[in-house]
């Protein structure tokens, strides 16, 4: 099975999990010569929720599905929130769960009631437990689930179906493996039969017809438009079509077509001459960006549309003044106010990447009617947000951090942002080319980011990349999942490239303080954690693999980064920030509600 998974994602080198007695036999297969020789390794996390977040983070970077292995009940249920997050955010995680054995499952109510550990009892104590009880709980947070059994030919088909569905829908899927099926063998010839990863109806006459029609409609509108704009949203990237997107952007006449991204998109080279800015409704960094897209576009392609209130600032985006609006989603295209489904229950006609590729192939620069109109009145440049204040001696304002980050970011950095007050600073950043932002903006489960950063770090290292990895982390959220910060130490040998973790230490759930109860005890955390020394008691006493840095105020912050030294170790920054100090956007969004 693992070999098949590696066919589904040849880049996969790390498999995440937490051992349990229902899947130990399965884990043994990860130590077989055929797996080890491919440099694939098992990475053990501290708990299952963190495991799910880690797998999510890995999947976002590695360019294919990731794998999480947990045990029956106690393990899988702990992971469920992380899997729901991967579902909401289109992250392709394969969750493998070891279950009771088929033998154990083959009992009926005429026999003695056998209650196995980890398996909740039947509500009627004189009936057998339902061995499938947990499977029903995950239906809505995954796109597919299959349970293996003794029919090996069917198992092979199930595995393939799960793998292909996860990859096509870019959302989690489950494989439930009874403990006595772990050792099943399939004939090797099965591995010679390649996985069918293209969309079910690709190249059918119906698909080809629709593809041609939509391409033609979109291009004809684009060619004719006087003020065309493309708003690049996140689903094109989540669906792993960044290359196709880059090609598309390149083919658009830069003196005609204005480019924007959404808050969750940030997947366009922001240094391009025709890139205007990040459009986030009322949360947009500059009103002139809003003007450019809402009032100065006659044609707009919303490419890779992600519909969510954290992507459109509470549904404050407004395309009503755009003459002609096209919305391209992986499952449909909205054009001329009509929805064209590209996906049915049986599968997709073609992927969003297929459509954009087809556009790329067809597009001809000489067909644009309005060729040389220089129609961009404003392009976003970050403004200096921070001004010195008396409080600078007491804490580092977030405005200071935003300004610093605008100069600190380098091309191709991986920037991970926790669901925390700093997340609301994203539209203030101008990202250098190739910067990859990882954040769970929509689902918004705090605690996501440390494990996701761990997963991203494994991915970056597995790809032998030297991209910098930066994590902006809240303190309350850090406490949620802190144990797996020590996993950077546990696997230091696999992670020569380690992240810099910036903990926004503001003594509580500042996001909630802004919404309600600023001084209420429910928004307090234990604020005396020593973030810069934490790893000294969590596995790296002598700072061999990490370095802790506490910066108490603006002066210390400036001094440190004025003369920052290269260091290969994991770096944990304890940034003392203000208890009620948040990016302006955040407070204004909530006051406006």
């Amino acid at each position: 099975m693992f070999l098949r998974i590696l066919q589904a994602n040849p880049k996969l080198k790390s498999i995440f999990g937490i051992p349990g007695d229902f899947q130990l036999a399965l884990l043994e297969h990860l130590y077989s010569e055929s797996i080890v020789s491919k440099d694939v390794k098992f990475i053990g996390l501290c708990n299952e929720l963190n495991g799910a977040y880690t797998a999510d983070g890995y999947a976002r970077l590695i360019g294919g599905l990731s794998v999480l292995i947990t045990t029956y009940g106690v393990g899988e249920l702990s992971a469920i929130n992380g899997i729901a997050g991967a579902f909401a955010e289109y992250s392709p995680v394969l969750h493998i769960v070891g279950t009771t054995s088929i033998k154990q499952q083959q009992v009926d109510d005429s026999q003695q009631v056998i209650n196995h550990h980890h398996l909740i009892q039947n509500k009627n104590p004189l009936k057998q437990p339902n061995h499938d009880v947990y499977k029903h709980m995950v239906d809505s947070v995954c796109v597919i689930q299959e349970s293996l059994d003794q029919d090996m030919a069917a198992n092979v088909e199930k595995i393939d179906k799960v793998l292909t569905t996860i990859i096509k829908d870019l959302r989690p899927g489950y494989l439930f493996i009874p403990s006595d099926v772990s050792d099943f063998r399939v004939e090797t010839k099965y591995l010679n039969h390649p996985l069918n990863l293209i969309e079910n109806f690709r190249n059918t006459p119906m698909a080809n017809q629709k593809l041609s029609m939509l391409t033609e409609m979109i291009l004809s509108k684009l060619y004719k438009a006087k003020n065309p704009s493309v708003l690049v949203d996140t689903l094109i990237t989540r669906f792993k079509h960044q290359d196709v997107l880059d090609e598309f952007v390149k083919k658009l006449p830069s003196n005609l077509v204005k480019l924007f991204t959404t808050n969750m998109g940030r997947n366009v080279n922001e240094s391009l001459p025709n890139f205007v800015g990040c459009y986030y409704g009322v949360g947009t960094a500059d009103r002139r960006i809003v003007d450019e897209i809402e009032n100065n576009s006659d044609f707009l392609i919303n490419l890779g549309y992600f519909n969510g209130e954290t992507n459109n600032a509470g549904y404050s985006t407004d395309f009503s003044k755009v003459d002609d609006y096209v919305e391209i989603h992986p499952d449909y295209v909205l054009i001329d106010k009509q929805y064209h489904y590209t996906k049915s229950d049986e599968g997709r006609l073609f992927s969003i990447g297929d459509l954009v590729s087809n556009i790329n192939e067809q597009i001809q620069s000489d067909k644009f009617v309005h060729k040389s109109v220089n129609n961009i009145k404003y392009k976003f440049e970050p403004t200096q947000l921070y001004t010195p204040s008396k409080t600078d001696a007491v804490y580092i304002p977030q405005k200071k951090i935003i300004d610093w980050m605008n100069s600190y970011l380098q091309p191709n950095d991986v920037l991970i942002v926790e669901t925390c007050s700093f997340q609301f600073a994203l539209p203030d950043l101008k990202l250098p080319p190739g910067v990859k932002v990882v954040s769970q903006n929509f689902y918004g489960s705090i605690g996501f980011a440390i494990p996701a950063c761990l997963g991203a770090t494994f991915a970056v290292n597995d790809m032998k990349s030297n991209r910098r990895i930066l994590l902006m982390q809240g303190d309350g959220s850090a406490q949620m999942t802190i144990q797996d910060i020590s996993t950077f130490i546990k696997y230091h040998q696999h992670l020569p490239n380690k992240p810099k973790i910036f903990v926004i230490n503001n003594d509580g759930y500042t996001v909630e303080r802004i919404i309600k109860g600023p001084t209420r005890s429910y928004n307090d955390i234990l604020g005396t954690w020593n973030w810069s020394k934490l790893l000294q008691t969590m596995g790296d006493e002598n700072c061999k693999y990490h370095k802790g840095i506490k910066l108490n105020n603006v002066q210390e912050f400036d001094d440190y980064f004025a003369d920052e030294q290269e260091d290969d170790r994991l770096q944990v920054f304890d940034l003392i920030t203000g208890k009620f100090d948040v990016p302006d956007r955040f407070s204004s969004l909530f006051i406006s509600k």
Copy 2:
């Protein structure tokens, strides 16, 4: 609502939770004069899974239901595994979840699709999300769930129904509260109407008839028996009938009726002259205990039967040689090989406590036919397990710890035992009177114990008790939920009575090592955590509220406890133990399989 909850459990002083924007308005009500004046406080945990475990631990000690408050999706789902554990182990936790508002829920597919943060999207992107999606996921891990709405009269009924069902079934229930319903007010007269906490059919003719019949049948068998035994199992205690049980035990002629407990029971005074021992099938500490119950009993009452493989050592208990076997479960009585249900879908005829109370009332000592037979051939006394060895300088053997614990335990101690190798030592312990064991033996979710200990500690302090609280904790399991060890520091002012936490530091998942892959990397944890110093970086740098003690070998262990000093602080012991050293019972159970 909170006032009603306090009526359901007047002893409740701590309400656990993690804030989120969907329930902040609800949390505000905890700061109202009527709540604060009752010394009820909100206790904020680091994460929701830990919150569920904490509430479970609190419920086990406080003698009534406990309360956990989480937020929509991201919060509630993180808690689900802890709630499933409370379900499996009969712990009455009320889980209150703040959801999207009724206004937000009142949309249909004819309107724009609105995707709220924390709420997973509909699989069809052009349909509204299902606001009830998470509710369906918890059906099997709770006994009741209700969603409040704008009908205030109905809300009142729903709240009462949830409270009474949780209390009667001693299992978790859910209240889903839309964010715009949090502020609803009910007339105070409602609070004058007492909650109906007695069983639905109690005192109906049918119930009275069955109660009389069963009492008579049981007593008549008991009176006639020559070698009667009572095996006291855990459900009588989980259902909060310890007092009734104690009374029952007192009424049994001690020179005739032999007493036993199960592995999960441990609720009988083990110093009584007729207490034989803990019966745990093939895992029983002494074969002679097995003989006494299996071979030397002609009549056996299994009182408070909990059917689970961790309670009967993999179904190795055997009552086939007992002439007459009676099984008393909260939902039925098995007598003369016939099941008499005492519970239907509509409710119970009477509780297990009602039945035993009735027996207590009816029982007459002069009716026992065999009055003065001294029939106990063996009574359990712990044997010295530890013998000195060369490895004593390298680590502390678990046998040493078991021996020590047999002398260290005091009456009324609260002993919390994590799902870890030491859990298998429980049958080797002879418990002083009143010792309360808290463990999640059956569900077995590792990571349970630190938060459960936190909950138990709040309960003990809320009851102003000075019982000692001892926690035996595995290291791998500690890493699962470690953050909330700092919550002892956060709320130190509420917790004058703090626990002693003994971390069995054996460098990995030793339980799994015994089962499979003793040296496999999947069973490794980062073994360099410094348990005795951890809290110095997690909030108590100067050891004001805690003390860390590292004991490296037998000599240090003996020296420390030979001269242990009183200390009011939380104590964290780092006990260096052997990587493969476990209680004998554990390895033999797995070899026998």
